[in-house]
């Protein structure tokens, strides 16, 4: 994925890693420092909460299984004041805790084991959002897809795609949050507004129409992936790393 801004993610942002496992802390510290992030590590939830207040990190990586308190509890307490992105680490796909963490305000999750490429892509995606702000992004490109956010126009392989207003809003929301999961609840709130009572079924119908218009033929989505039980994820060019 590319955006109109300069290579902002590589500035020395501060990342706090809360994980009880020494090996993971060491590995993350080494990977993140190699990419010029400033890294703080905490072994327990309590320590993590203190460091979060102390150092005000730009992003927090939080393991859900901690010795002193549940990672969910940590996420919940962080969210009472912390506005930066929280990326949760979990052991398993479809882990109920993972979904609960998103509900409590975590922004994304990664399933262990993950590659450094995956982790860095997610961190960049989240920091880009906080650093550059949404207003400065005018155009998003991914594969054959070009989304002109200013003109509200979408082209696929150079051909214009005719999206409804709702479809465009959904696509724009997902694309601005490329490579991170967007929960159904968040989509309903952002696209329809907090007062509008709608359900995930309606959302799925709109996403399905949107897919028909922008996804390649063959019925298999390449840009908008379903995150079962959670929501959707827009796959930018970076997200293809595996």
């Amino acid at each position: 994925m590319t955006d109109s801004g300069p290579g902002a993610p590589e500035r020395s942002a501060r990342v706090l890693v809360i994980d009880d496992e020494e090996q993971i802390r060491r590995a993350l510290r080494s990977v993140l420092q190699a990419h010029h992030y400033m890294v703080d590590v905490a072994e327990t939830g309590g320590e993590g909460l203190e460091l979060a207040i102390d150092r005000t990190p730009d992003l927090i990586i939080l393991d859900l299984s901690l010795p002193d308190m549940s990672g969910l509890k940590v996420a919940e307490e962080l969210r009472t004041w912390y506005v930066g992105p929280i990326v949760v680490l979990s052991v398993r796909d479809g882990d109920a805790d993972k979904i609960a963490a998103l509900d409590l305000g975590a922004d994304d999750y990664l399933t262990k084991p993950f590659s450094a490429g995956e982790l860095l892509a997610r961190i960049r995606a989240h920091l880009r959002r906080t650093v550059s702000g949404e207003a400065s992004i005018r155009e998003i490109r991914a594969g054959e897809l070009v989304i002109d956010l200013a003109r509200r126009q979408v082209t696929v392989s150079g051909e214009p795609a005719h999206l409804t207003r709702t479809e465009f809003d959904i696509l724009a929301l997902l694309a601005r949050n490329a490579d991170r999961v967007v929960t159904s609840r968040m989509m309903l709130e952002q696209v329809w507004g907090p007062d509008y009572i709608s359900d995930t079924q309606t959302l799925r119908v709109h996403v399905s129409h949107l897919r028909h218009k922008i996804e390649p033929a063959g019925g298999v989505p390449r840009y908008i992936l379903t995150e079962p039980g959670v929501g959707f994820r827009f796959v930018g060019d970076e997200g293809t790393a595996s």
């Binding site: 028909h212 019925g219 298999v220 989505p221 992936l225 079962p228 790393a241 595996s242």
Partner: protein, 519 residues
């Protein structure tokens, strides 16, 4: 039989009095016209009838009483014991003799007949029990059958069977007859199991059956407790299996008086319980053996699959360390690529193991929701290693109906099949993923152009740890992938099979039911 039991209980003497009184009342008006000998002759059948109904004791009572009645009321002078005529004396002595001898004989005969009938019923009971012994599987059903028979055939007021638990205590498995199981009953059964002693009724023929059956050992058992019935240990060569309890009908002389019959029943019950316990143990043993065998296979396969990539990683990394600073960045990079690949293999082995054990222990139940197959395939496509992605062609119809599945599980199924196809077919060959509706099923398939699966292996490929002999490829992996696929598909009430592709190759087809799929 029922009358005689009833007479035996309390009413023997009054019955005799009433019967003789009635006969006397009928004959008394005619005593002037009847000769004492004729009266005596008429009394003989009555005494015999009483003997037949009441047994030996009643017949003696009746004979003696009839003798006195005749003497007192029918032989002049009336209302005196005195007998005036010597002829009458002779007649009366003969009458007494006949009444007693015939009465006793009849009574004995009747008692023998009763005993024979009872024995026959007992034999029939034992026959029924033995045939049940062979056919019955359930301990509860057999125990219930036994206690009902004890009540019906042996005339118990209540019967129960307790079996010995692993802790050695008694637990009630079946009961029949009146009244609930009291605490005493269980406590006494416990006592019997602990002490390996019977609690028996003293109820032989020479002890009059009274209202308070007494136990011999109950006094030792629990102070202050009087056993109200017999507790027979169910004994086998291995020890005690349980306790058979039988309480007589209140106030009756039970047919299991001597506990001989009860012992016979107890033996059958013990044999059944032992066989059932041994059968369970055997079934358990064979299950344990099977699971041991699988575990052994699992451990060997798994340790191999986990250790191989680990060994490779260790070798490469320590190799690089050995070379120290001299090794070029390019070499480090290529070694690390290989390490990453080995780690990926390690991860997928671990995932296979976890997934299968979660599936088999029912800890990974599907949470089905409505999805388009395309959504699932999108996730599958993302998981294909970048280098292999262009080999896989997805093509599904636009109008494919949605299907009710667990997203993660179906993605796991298709991913496994795609991985297999990529591994088992040559690098230059493509792999096709497709789907269509057939009747009320959705078929999804993964097709490769590798060597295919020989007919005799088409079933076996879904077995755990199965490795095809003919494929000629040694792809590694735990050998669990297709077993996981089959298990997940089964959880979705679907089917999975493999068929041939012309001219060569394999097509793995998953069929999922569309019924009940809400739009």
């Amino acid at each position: 039989m029922r009358l005689s039991r009833f007479l035996n209980a309390f009413w023997g003497i009054p019955f005799v009095i009433v019967a003789l009184g009635a006969a006397t009342a009928v004959m008394l008006p005619f005593r002037s016209v009847l000769h004492p000998a004729q009266v005596m002759l008429l009394f003989v059948p009555i005494v015999l009838w009483i003997a037949r109904a009441g047994g030996v004791r009643s017949s003696i009572t009746a004979g003696t009483l009839a003798f006195l009645l005749v003497d007192f009321l029918f032989v002049p002078p009336y209302y005196q014991v005195v007998v005036s005529s010597p002829v009458d004396w002779v007649t009366m002595i003969v009458f007494l003799g006949v009444a007693l001898v015939a009465g006793i004989q009849t009574g004995r005969m009747k008692e023998r007949e009763n005993a024979a009938v009872q024995r026959q019923r007992e034999i029939a009971l034992l026959n029924r029990l033995s045939s049940r012994l062979v056919s019955e599987k359930s301990v509860e059903a057999m125990a219930s059958f036994i206690v009902h028979e004890v009540v019906a055939v042996l005339g118990a007021g209540r019967s129960a069977i307790f079996v010995r638990t692993e802790a050695g205590t008694a637990t009630l498995v079946a009961e029949a007859g009146d009244g609930p199981a009291g605490l005493t009953e269980r406590a006494l059964a416990d006592w019997v199991l602990r002490n390996d002693k019977a609690i028996a009724l003293i109820a032989s023929d020479d002890v009059p059956p009274d209202l308070r059956p007494v136990s011999i050992d109950a006094a030792d058992a629990i102070s202050g407790v009087v056993a109200d019935g017999a507790y027979v240990p169910l004994q086998t060569s291995d020890g005690l299996e349980g306790v058979l309890y039988a309480r007589p009908l209140v106030g009756s002389k039970p047919a299991f008086a001597g506990t001989r019959q009860l012992l016979a029943v107890a033996n059958v019950a013990a044999a059944f319980l032992e066989r059932s316990r041994l059968g369970e143990a055997a079934a358990h043993t064979s299950a344990v053996r099977e699971s041991d065998r699988l575990k052994a296979t699992l451990v060997s396969s798994v340790s191999h699959e986990l250790k191989t990539p680990l060994a490779a990683v260790t070798a490469r990394v320590t190799g690089l360390l050995e070379e120290g600073e001299d090794c070029g960045a390019e070499r480090v990079h290529s070694e690390l690529l290989a390490v990453a690949e080995d780690l990926g293999r390690l991860d997928s082995s671990i995932r296979d193991l976890l997934d299968l054990s979660r599936l088999e222990s029912d800890a990974w139940r599907p949470r089905p929701e409505i999805y388009d197959l395309g959504e699932v395939l999108g996730t599958v496509a993302q998981r294909i290693p970048v280098g292999q992605r262009q080999r896989v062609r997805f093509g599904i119809p636009d109008d494919l109906p949605p299907v009710r599945v667990d997203f993660n599980q179906l993605a796991r199924v298709i991913s496994s099949l795609v991985d297999n196809a990529l591994t088992y077919s040559p690098e230059v060959e493509s792999v096709a993923v497709g789907a269509r509706v057939l009747g009320r099923e959705m078929l999804a398939w993964v097709e490769d152009h590798g060597p295919g699966v020989p007919d005799d292996e088409k079933q076996q490929v879904f077995e755990k740890f199965f490795r095809g002999a003919a494929s000629g490829v040694s792809p590694g992996g735990t050998g669990l992938g297709l077993a996981i696929v089959r298990e997940i598909v089964r959880h979705h009430d679907g089917r999975v099979w493999v068929e041939d592709v012309d001219p060569h190759g394999a097509r793995f087809v998953v069929s999922l039911p569309l019924e009940g799929t809400a739009q």
